[in-house]
Symmetry: none
């Protein structure tokens, strides 16, 4: 299956919005064995849409179009496609009822423009949108498929994962490449490559592809091969070897996240969690509650950003701050240990650091960060420096704290 | 000047890398009055490059190509372009010396493949790369221009800003399209369109384009026109009218964010801020500390996720939770009011809600969320329902809380 993507929107062309939709669709299709060979970003203009669609249909089996399905006047995709496929717009009663229910649930008034969102091309298969008012539309032309989706990432993803991808995978032949991906925290891409160089060489000699996919704080390592049993075995062995080589770093495989993994372990161990954060300002806490059901193990946090709150609310000894500074092993330990009692939890993650871009000194340069995890059997504090970018520091510190907790929970910290 | 962008690289198509290069080029060209009307992402293949280039040259004045200029075997752009423009590769001595110096400065061994990077198309104008080893190349064909650049963002940006953009701006007429963008919180795209329909009609009648750019909790509204004084005046008047129509909703213009705006107001008013969060779990707190310098106004937060912490740490009356439930006006008010005292701040934002996907009841369905802002002159609590997606609820609740604070700070809350 060869797919092309057309992203519609002036905001993409003038760089106001980064085209994350195309990346997401590309990566999801790759996971399903399909290939994206071309992606076009075009203007919200009828001629541009028709030109791009015609070019794409010459080359690809399927074309996925995103954008231009909103209720406002600048959204012209639906009208352009109806004309292109020579069909008329008719009110779809099921969609109309769903749009009505959507507004009722939110106790909001439904407008004429919203009713128009139920007017859909007669010849299209409607792809249900449970999370918004713009339906997906699927057109079949000879042996080719055109899917039109809203540009709102959340709605686009919902429609593709609940119906769009399945339709394509059933209709077309996908290459059955075999993929596995492991997730690694706490080691940079080049150091990882060095640490596993002999394993990587063995895989490459056996035509197994390795891809390093870095993001702040995390590297995903993807293995790709033919679906032969021999290749699968080689990848399995390589993953086992990397896990035993870097048990503190490798935290999961497949479609996982660190916050989800920690939640699962805490539920299994019937343990509870809280955080006392300074430089991360709630980043860790916020990451934890992204997981549905986190209320069963997460009790809460204190974000003691000011020294006053560290002393008055968390009970850090004022003398410790005076002697060692707020960014110190002593203070971060007091934060974590006191946090366990104050929040009445089994485990507490604490952070204190200089996120930047200013506030550093010769002794404690920007980026100096202390993280401590306290648990029933003691605490573990470590010092880091992730550089001088504020947002990146906060993000990486959060992930590192979560991974240190994971290590303590699994008794693999050192 | 009409420009098209061609981004070369399989990593872009399979979503391993997000195409930030195209966004950056688009936004920089827009600032310089040029228009990007099409962007293609293609495979590292000769036919794909030639096809995309031919299509682009039919439509555009200039084509900017990024990617495929590295030293490894999969980098074929230079060879493809040399063949396409019917020219040969010759060693450019100046470039060779620069590449040599580049390796010497880093005390790294120079390889044969690196020497080959000084072999450049004879007919091309070489665009100097001071920060890497792959030169930019500029080809002129009739009145059209093709610029080929390395895909490394840092190198691509360096070459365009030091020579590429200047060349284009001098060669072609730029259209100075005039853009303004305002940011709106707390009203959906379709309601916004209805609220400003008469203003929008007037603008459209005067050929001024309006684009709605929605993201969870926020809609950006972009106005585009010719740079005539009359159009600018019409846009200015429209923005003034929308601001006076929706003062609670319109929070800023241009390159702004809600957390930055609030920080600026708090600094100006010499006031301090804290949060007491339940359902948002630290989202608001984390958003506030993204801003460098937030420690001058942000003191900290209590994330009272469990009822125990609401009672024991925040001092919410156990009786209130028993009578009204944790998700109630009474409880969220106590959280905000007590938070002001506990955190010793002027303003406190509190949240309590059912983020989902489960935990709802008939009386309080999933998505029921209370937000309260307490300040020196009283408090303001409101109930919302943003739907049943957990992550989205947390995000929108956070933005809504920040906007309610903004309204109180500016005394425009109602």
């Amino acid at each position: 299956m060869n797919v092309e993507i057309i992203s519609i929107g002036d905001e993409l062309l003038i760089g106001q919005t980064i085209n994350t939709n195309a990346s997401w669709i590309g990566s999801e299709l790759a996971l399903r064995g399909a290939k994206v060979s071309h992606c076009a970003v075009i203007e919200d203009k009828k001629e541009a849409i028709v030109d791009a669609l015609e070019s794409a249909l010459k080359r690809a089996d399927a074309v996925i179009i995103t954008g231009g399905l909103g209720p406002t006047k600048d959204d012209i995709t639906k009208y352009t496609l109806a004309e292109y496929f020579n069909t008329e717009l008719v009110i779809n009663e099921e969609v109309l009822n769903r749009v009505k229910a959507f507004f009722e649930r939110r106790s909001r008034k439904m407008l004429d423009v919203n009713i128009q969102q139920a007017a859909l091309p007669k010849s299209a298969i409607i792809l249900r949108n449970d999370v918004g008012t713009a339906s997906g539309m699927l057109f079949e032309i000879e042996n080719k498929t055109v899917i039109s989706l809203p540009g709102v990432p959340y709605e686009m993803k919902h429609i593709l994962t609940t119906s769009g991808f399945d339709f394509l995978v059933h209709k077309y032949t996908v290459s059955n490449l075999f993929h596995r991906t492991i997730h690694i925290q706490g080691i940079g891409e080049s150091y990882l490559a060095e640490a596993i160089s002999s394993i990587e060489k063995r895989l490459i000699d056996n035509t197994i592809k390795l891809a390093y996919l870095p993001s702040p704080g995390i590297v995903r390592l993807r293995f790709t091969s033919t679906p032969s049993e021999a290749s699968k075995k080689l990848i399995e062995d390589a993953i086992t070897e990397i896990k035993s080589l870097l048990p503190q770093k490798v935290f999961g495989e497949g479609d996982v996240t660190l916050n989800k993994i920690i939640g699962d372990i805490l539920i299994e161990q019937k343990s509870t969690l809280g955080t006392v954060e300074s430089c991360t300002g709630g980043q860790i806490s916020k990451d934890i509650v992204q997981i549905a059901g986190s209320s069963s193990y997460f009790k809460g946090s204190i974000i003691s950003y000011s020294n006053d709150l560290k002393i008055n609310l968390v009970g850090v000894d004022a003398e410790s701050i005076k002697l060692y500074g707020a960014v110190s092993e002593q203070v971060v330990k007091e934060m974590a240990i006191n946090g366990r009692k104050l929040l009445d939890v089994d485990y507490c993650i604490a952070t204190s650091g200089i996120a930047g871009p200013t506030g550093g000194s010769d002794v404690k340069p920007v980026g100096t960060i202390w993280i401590c995890v306290a648990g029933p059997t003691g605490c573990n504090a470590k010092k880091f420096n992730f550089g001088d970018d504020r947002v990146r520091n906060i993000k990486i510190t959060g992930l590192t704290g979560l991974n240190m907790l994971r290590q303590m929970l699994l008794k693999i910290n050192k």
